[in-house]
């Protein structure tokens, strides 16, 4: 947790920390609930499939929540929310890890030859794996020490990878669906909205202010 800016009262730090824990608990709860149901035979006739599907959807949802932090904070003029972006992002990464490990270790039983073939031959797996590879440096550079060493400019540049990762995640979902494309399209719409807001605010910032007629 980052300390508040110099001069902020000490109580602020504790409030921040407390809110951080609550947010963390909310982020962890759905994944823990999924694991609980896996171990208690509550995932239906094909628990392995259910685990992969549900952890995948959850990971996508978490990534979208991460992507929503900045617009929400700015639109609501509540900058303190951004201090919790890292907590949410790291939980999103943990959920992605859960999704990926259920594919590698449980579904494919570490049959690396088959997994390699999957990655090469099946576009939705290629794309999903690429998205994961891009996500790893973002998680690593969330460490305070590394982040400070990178400097804000480089750090931000790197973390703009999320603008590629999230659409890749949506495409990964869209490509594996057999017939009912409505759910992935809903996520595509949300992602487009969140990325569109960024494009719009970037563009608006660069434009000279428009003179308004009285």
């Amino acid at each position: 947790m980052r300390a508040p800016k110099d001069g902020a009262p000490r109580s602020m730090l504790w409030r921040d920390r407390f809110i951080g824990w609550i947010i963390g608990a909310f982020c962890a709860a759905p994944a823990l609930w999924l694991i609980y149901r896996l171990f208690n035979d509550q995932l239906g006739a094909n628990p392995v499939e259910a685990l992969i599907r549900q952890s995948g959807v959850l990971a996508l949802q978490m990534l979208l929540v991460t992507l929503a932090v900045t617009p929400v904070a700015k639109i609501a003029r509540q900058p303190w929310i951004i201090r919790h972006r890292r907590t949410i992002g790291l939980w999103a990464f943990a959920t992605v890890l859960m999704h990926l490990s259920s594919y590698l270790f449980i579904d494919k039983e570490m049959d690396w030859a088959e997994i390699g073939k999957d990655i090469l031959k099946r576009p939705y797996i290629t794309i999903g794996m690429a998205a994961f590879v891009m996500l790893v440096p973002l998680a690593i550079t969330s460490l305070d020490r590394i982040r400070r060493a990178m400097g804000p400019h480089r750090w931000r540049r790197l973390h703009q990878l999320i603008y590629v990762i999230v659409p890749a995640g949506v495409l990964h979902y869209y490509l594996l669906v057999k017939a009912d494309h409505r759910p992935p399209l809903v996520y595509a719409g949300i992602a487009a909205l969140l990325l569109g807001w960024r494009a719009w605010s970037f563009y608006a910032k660069r434009r000279p202010p428009i003179k308004r007629s009285a």
Binding site: L38, F39, D41, G44, A45, N46, P47, V48, E49, M98, S101, S102, F105, I106, E109, E114, K117, D118, K121, R122, Y124, L175, L176, K178, A179, D180, R182
Partner: protein, 309 residues
């Protein structure tokens, strides 16, 4: 990641073996009393179906009825596999009729009761292999498709058999969405339809078919991927040309007309070499023709199964 091994079956999930082995006594007793007192069909249904047990057997463990009836692909009731069990209550399997027409001398509309009376029912325990790489072992109750086809006297021009599911969004709410091109259509080559393994099923686990499994009558072709085994059939037509089939229309490169189970020909998006048997944790190798090569392979002699997938 820690996984409890084999989350599949607890002792209490399985019918006690001794009781299970005696199930036919109960059924026979039920059917006998139904016939004896001329009870209406409803009562006979409640007591199960009268059938000849074990016509096709396997020593493999049956998939629990709970799983067979709650894990279904039946998009007419929703695209999630738990949807059909929840939503299929709107389907009315009685009264029901099946039109059998096309290139035949005696086209006929069969009432479901006629069918049950006319064709002696058999129990056939088949493996079912879904194109999604999972499988089950299901004790179906039904009769050979060819017996029904014989009754309408197919003409020699008839080379294929086309099947259609009911098309009624009131009974099948999933049809209000355009996820598939309704009605669901399937087809077989006439030789496949005449193969002894191809049956029309009217029941499973000794009882009438639950709605979510394709009540009141469905096709079962165990050497082909599950989507070929069309459910809730209202029309069977003898035709000259290869009929259009739903999943093939949806994605031609993914779902072929033949759709024979084949571990060597991958689905473009996943391998078909292995399958997960429902109730088991580890995958098992998929067998050519789902293990029914002895009965069906000769029909495809000389055919390039990679091309005609």
């Amino acid at each position: 990641m820690l996984i409890r091994h084999a989350p599949d079956l607890k002792d209490c999930d399985v019918t006690d073996k001794a009781l299970y082995l005696r199930r036919r006594e109960f059924l026979t007793a039920g059917a006998g009393s139904a016939a004896g007192f001329m009870l209406p069909l409803g009562a006979a249904q409640a007591a199960g179906l009268a059938y000849k047990p074990g016509v096709v057997k396997t020593d493999e463990k049956l998939t629990p009825k709970e799983d067979v009836t709650t894990y279904n692909n039946f998009y007419e009731f929703g695209t999630d596999k738990s949807d059909p069990a929840k939503n299929a209550g709107t389907l009315k399997p009685r009264p029901w009729s099946v039109v059998v027409d096309g290139l035949c001398d005696k086209p006929k509309t069969f009432g479901i009761e006629d069918i049950l009376k006319t064709y002696p029912l058999e129990e056939r325990i088949y493996r079912l292999r879904c194109v999604e790489a999972w499988s089950m072992v299901i004790p179906w109750i039904g009769f050979p498709l060819r017996d029904l086809l014989k009754a309408v006297e197919p003409q020699s021009k008839a080379r294929y058999v086309a099947f259609q599911t009911l098309n009624d969004p009131k009974q099948m709410p999933g049809q209000r969405s355009g996820v598939l091109d309704w009605p669901y259509r399937e087809g077989l080559h006439i030789n496949e339809a005449n193969n002894n393994l191809a049956i029309l099923a009217v029941g499973l686990y000794g009882d009438v078919l639950p709605n979510q499994n394709g009540a009141p009558i469905r096709l079962v072709v165990p050497w082909k991927y599950g989507f070929k085994s069309i459910k809730s059939i209202v029309r069977i037509s003898l035709v000259e040309k290869m009929p259009k089939t739903t999943w093939n229309m949806m994605a031609q490169d993914e779902y072929g007309f033949y759709a024979n189970v084949n571990p060597k020909v991958d689905h473009p998006r996943w391998s078909q070499a292995k399958e997960r048997r429902i109730g088991e944790f580890n995958r098992r190798p998929t067998l050519m023709f789902n293990g029914y090569g002895e009965q069906v392979a000769s029909m495809y002699a000389g055919m390039d199964l990679r091309r005609f997938y």
